[in-house]
Assembly symmetry: C2
Homo-oligomer: 135 residues x 2
Amino acid sequence: MTIREVCEKYHILPDTLRYYERVGAIPAVNRTEGGIRDYSEEDMGWVENAICMRNAGVPVEMVVSYVKLCQQGDGTFAARRDLLKEARTGIVKQMEKCRRELERLDYKIERYETAVETGELVWDRTFSEDACGQA
Amino acid sequence: MTIREVCEKYHILPDTLRYYERVGAIPAVNRTEGGIRDYSEEDMGWVENAICMRNAGVPVEMVVSYVKLCQQGDGTFAARRDLLKEARTGIVKQMEKCRRELERLDYKIERYETAVETGELVWDRTFSEDACGQA
DNA sequence: ACTTGACTTTGAGTTCACTCCAACTTGTAT
DNA sequence: ATACAAGTTGGAGTGAACTCAAAGTCAAGT
């Protein structure tokens, strides 16, 4: 599979794929005689891994660390598990922040819906005690 | 309330608060005679709003737009509602991506747990069809 | 062989959201 | 009065993650 095809499949730019490869977020990709990237099934798996982790906000540096551990062989299972657990914790934290803001937003949107009808905006609840649980 | 106190309350840096004010993510803050910021209850509400939205990954530019609409008065209820709905959509999308990656991660972590015990890593599931639903 | 378009590398540029610095002013404690 | 901490401004710097540009190479069609 050419870089173009991979990019179409995952809706990303060729430069992003090359960047991921350059920094090590994916291992070196197969090449043709002429030196052109020819993504194998395995390469695609790595690409997917990087995209999935990045989609969830996992830092590139963490993806790089994971790939490195994988390349170091079977002695790194525990380290890989720990790294993924750490990534998981970060994602859960981020989701919790989003959940709280969603609640806030839903309340506000509801108030604005009413305000659009009546012409008057009323808050019967205050948000002043903490910033979405961050205090 | 001084900038220091606000920062301690919300665990952010003074420079961040000044930055938010400068770009308009919060309206101009009350000042003392000498020109030192003295956050009122209302100012705090704006600070909280900015922090909450940012915590959920809403771009600063969107917070700025919201504040601008609020400052334009009662004629902008519908516009504000629409803006918050747009922010909401973005957050929901991000959470969905996180949810999918969490599933992936949980499966992988579970496999690694087993691998740590047995010394052998086995995938009885493939992730090759899409990148966490992004395809 | 020739054109055209896709691919290559290296390195620089961009965007976002802060974060820091320097020089100066304000407020508090002795 | 005098330190000295804490605040102020304007502007520069940083880190993360791309994204683009330039100059050249490769491959497919005519």
